[in-house]
Amino acid sequence: MMEVVNFILGSLVFPGLLFASLIGLLYIGIDRKVTAHMQHRIGPPIWQEFLDVGKLLSKEDITPAAAQSPVFTAAPLVALGAVVTVMLLLPINSAQPALTLVADLIVIIYLLNIPAICMMLGGYSSGSPFGAAGAGRYVVQLFSYEFIFILAIIAAVVRVGSLGLPTIVGYQAQQGWLVLDWRLLPAVIAALIAAQGKLLRVPFDIPEAHTEIVAGPLTEYSGPRLAIWRLAYDVETIVVAGFLAALFFGGPTAYLIGNIQIPGVVDFLIKTLAIVLLTTTLRNIMARLRIDQALKFFWTYVALLAIISLVLVLVVP
């Protein structure tokens, strides 16, 4: 009985839906504010994302006749479900996540792909040429960044010798952060660039490039469904940041400052915010690439970084 209550609390409140949504929306709000300041604007208040999603939820849902299908409706919900599930698998308060699995890294890699796949399905089923074009670009982009993302993860896995995220976090608590290991540094850089592609941020916001293909797969979404997409995207941002933080930056660590015990979740929040702000900076200092340029960039420079790292980890003891 207790287990069931714990599971429900875990998936709906902490670290599940409620916590993830609150932090995700807040971080994107901060991201927008920081972006505004970088662009010499005042920008919206940092709770603007809450207002936006709230407004969208209360709006009428208009779906074109061509798009009315279960796939179109299910896509945002499945995407949100997937990223919230990853939240349960991430070490947030301590090395131990809310849900323990044997080889959770593989599950996380799979789950992190589901939002992308849902977006493609949503785009293809929307009946709009912009949705289809965006989805097509997303397929190409997925094949660009995903391999590199996985290679970078494998480099870390080989270094630690475990497929479990808790073990990796535990290892870092004793041996120091993996990012400080020079053999893994190229992999960290590659993973951060791949995350930029995963989160569809400039220069890789190609699938939803709004001056080219309106909003890509999201073009025909409106009202509550669009709100769920926004929420899914915001949670995905924090999930990807949290995953990288756990993998390379030591994960959540509890500190003792004076006599006050600082819980690990504070460390988690600080690290994820730092990673989100890094992606914010990157997206503000570049122009968007074309899809073929992005593909080339990932498969040459970034793939090279990841492979170098993997080889170094394998060869140099």
Binding site: H40, P129, T211, E212, R288, D292
Partner: protein, 383 residues
């Protein structure tokens, strides 16, 4: 197999409604067609219905961005019709306003171009510095945008001596900023990746299709109305006509940015050499039968006004040819062979202004078919 990608009449890359039809094979564009006329406002007809003085304000509203160019061209044409000379001081003030407008227009364009390639930070920075010029325009003419300072026979407001130091100070700031932007645009890897070598308009095509303004100068064609047919004070000022040989989008960016520097140079000379004298000459409300053509180098290229007078206080006919209209045919060589992702930036690269462009559209309301007017019919309609 090809399929059609429609861009417009409603599309986020277009700030105004116009329809572009791209025939696409995979990502490659194989054919291009355009349909204009969505923002036809009947301005030329309205020009016939109002007096010469009223028409200044109407011609100003043909284009919001290059309003000074429009009123300058209109006033020039009407002054030729009436055969009056504009005082020297007014000619210099018109020059100053025209050049300030060119700076602001090019900065506005550069911002939009940055936005089209997803570089929003650069977009905001361009527009931040554009505010400096708008402040100058407001100080001189009283308005940030629609200046309403030109009038028949001269200008309505003076550039007072106390304005001069502020103008020179601001121009210095702008010069520094522009130099930095040129530096950014020629060195940033992502900008180069999106702009270099795409949307190329070869020199021959530019000449054949009669492209005008920065669009043709970026293809190495050395034309500029300011030098070739000097109006206002341009005959008394030394300046270079900026050309770039490449013809791609990057060349169009560089031409416009370097033209900002040249405009700063011209404004400085005009402000320093401002002659003394009256601001406007007298003009009679009624003009004897006559016809005249006025040409101005607007920020987007050659702007042409043609007017006929008939002895009353209203023109018989005013015809306006805006630069965007002249540049539309040159889209085809720019697009064909390119990719879909290039469409927004190449569309933006001629700095299109569609509301100025649309003035004649004949649509049969029964069949919905559009009809092209023959030259003979146009001649008959003239009278």
């Amino acid at each position: 197999m090809t399929f059609v990608v429609p861009i417009g009449p409603q599309h986020p890359a277009l700030k105004e409604p116009e329809y572009f039809r791209f025939e696409v094979k995979g990502e490659e564009i194989v054919d291009f067609d355009v349909r204009l006329g969505y923002v036809h406002r009947g301005i030329e007809r309205a020009l016939q219905e109002r007096s010469y003085l009223h028409n200044i304000y109407l011609s100003e509203r043909i284009c919001g961005i290059c309003n000074v160019a429009h009123t300058t061209a209109y006033c020039q044409t009407i002054e030729q019709l009436a055969g009056i000379e504009v005082p020297d001081r007014a000619r210099f003030i018109r020059t100053i306003l025209c050049e300030l407008e060119r700076i602001h227009s090019h900065m506005l364009w550069a911002g939009i171009a940055a936005h089209e390639i997803g570089f929003d930070t650069l977009f905001m920075l361009f527009w931040r510095d554009r505010e400096l010029v708008l402040d100058l325009k407001e100080m001189i003419s009283g308005n940030r945008q629609t200046s309403a300072s030109n009038t028949l026979g001269g200008v309505r407001r003076d550039v007072k001596p106390e304005y001069v130091p502020k103008i020179l100070r601001t121009l210095e700031k702008l010069e520094k900023a522009t130099e930095q932007y040129i530096n950014i645009c020629t060195s940033d890897r992502t900008i180069l990746a999106r702009c270099a070598g795409i949307g190329v308009l070869p020199k021959d095509d530019a000449k054949k299709l009669c492209a005008v303004g920065p669009t043709t100068r970026a293809s190495g064609v050395d034309i500029d109305i300011r030098r070739d047919d000097p109006y206002d004070a341009y005959g008394q000022i030394s300046f270079d006509v900026i050309t770039e040989p490449d013809g791609d989008v990057l060349a169009k960016v560089i031409v416009r940015l370097r033209e900002i520097l040249e405009s700063i140079h011209i404004t400085r000379q005009a402000v320093k050499a401002l002659p003394k004298g009256p601001l406007r000459a007298k003009i009679t409300p009624k003009i004897e039968p006559n016809e005249a053509i006025g040409r101005v180098e607007a920020p987007r290229g050659e702007l042409l006004y043609y007017a006929i007078s008939n002895g009353t206080d209203k023109p018989e006919r005013v015809r306006v040819r805006t630069p965007t209209y002249a540049n539309i045919p040159s889209f085809k060589p720019m697009f064909v062979g390119g990719t879909v992702a290039e469409i927004p930036i190449v569309l933006a690269s001629i700095d299109p202004c569609f509301a100025c462009t649309d003035r004649v559209a004949l649509v049969d309301s029964h069949t919905g078919k559009t009809r092209v007017l023959s030259f003979k019919e146009l001649r008959r309609w003239k009278g």
